[in-house]
């Protein structure tokens, strides 16, 4: 029930964002995003492996839009609380997606059930559709300013 009160603003915290991340491949990118979630107490390590296995099994469908991947796994694979992390890669990586590769932004998601995170997910989608936000994410070196900018967008209900 606690999840009902959680908003996207609550989840956009500097500890769950990392910029200029250096990785060699998609697997490392998912691992980095997952490690942030683990460090913030959202998941167990098991969840990271579950996300990687799911891409190996089901393919690169987690690349939801050009340049953006949203890896996730099932709640029962080690999720403690609803959460998300955002990493921006120094060098883009390929997931093997025919249209949306290469990926520069990885938004790693962990949810506790099938639907209570819907409002957060649709707000998140709206933010990721915002060109100014994406531009800020890719160019601004100060995480604090990125979080501020995202929160301002949400608050002003630009969406």
């Amino acid at each position: 029930m606690e999840e009902l009160r959680v908003t996207l603003e609550d989840l956009l915290i500097e500890d769950c964002i990392e910029l200029d991340v250096v990785v060699d491949n998609w697997e490392e990118a998912i691992r980095k995003g997952g490690e942030l979630l683990e460090r913030c107490g959202y998941i167990n390590k098991e969840y990271i492996n579950a996300m990687i296995s799911s891409v190996k099994e089901l393919g690169p469908y987690v690349v939801i839009a050009p340049g953006i991947a949203m890896p996730h796994a099932r709640p029962e694979s080690g999720v403690k609380r609803l959460g998300l992390s955002i990493i921006v890669l120094r060098k883009p990586v390929f997931f093997g997606h025919p249209e949306n590769d290469p990926v520069k932004i990885v938004v790693t998601l962990c949810a506790t059930d099938n639907s209570s995170h819907l409002s957060i997910l649709s707000k998140l989608a709206q933010i990721l559709q915002n060109k100014e936000f994406i531009n800020k994410l890719l160019t601004e070196p100060d995480k604090h300013l990125i979080v501020d900018y995202a929160k301002r967008l949400i608050k002003e209900d630009f969406l």
Binding site: Y61, I64, A73, N100, L118, L121, S122, A125
Partner: protein, 95 residues
């Protein structure tokens, strides 16, 4: 008009949910009532519905089903989603 729509993705809680919520808001605009459900790829078999919505990557796995599929390439592109959902609604209305 009422349509039963199933959103499908690998886990049944990410893009499927996102796409279904987009479908619901688009359908409202066109006066269509939606009965929606989201499922993971493994659970979609045996389900019945008027149309499935999924990413084009997931749709590849569903080609053998005898259910129309709305395939979305860019899950963050509202215009793509709206155009394809609208096209489906219009095709149903004509038939």
């Amino acid at each position: 008009m009422k349509l039963k729509v199933i959103g499908v993705c690998g886990m049944g809680l990410g893009t499927s949910l996102l796409l279904l919520s987009e479908v619901e808001s688009i359908a409202r605009k066109y006066g269509v009532e939606i009965e929606g459900e989201v499922v993971d790829l493994g659970s979609v078999r045996g389900k019945t519905c008027d149309v499935i919505i999924s990413s084009s990557e997931i749709a590849k796995e569903l080609k053998d089903l005898k259910i129309p599929i709305i395939e979305i390439k860019n899950m963050l592109d509202k215009r793509e989603i709206e155009a394809k959902v609208k096209e489906f609604i219009e095709s149903i209305r004509k038939s």
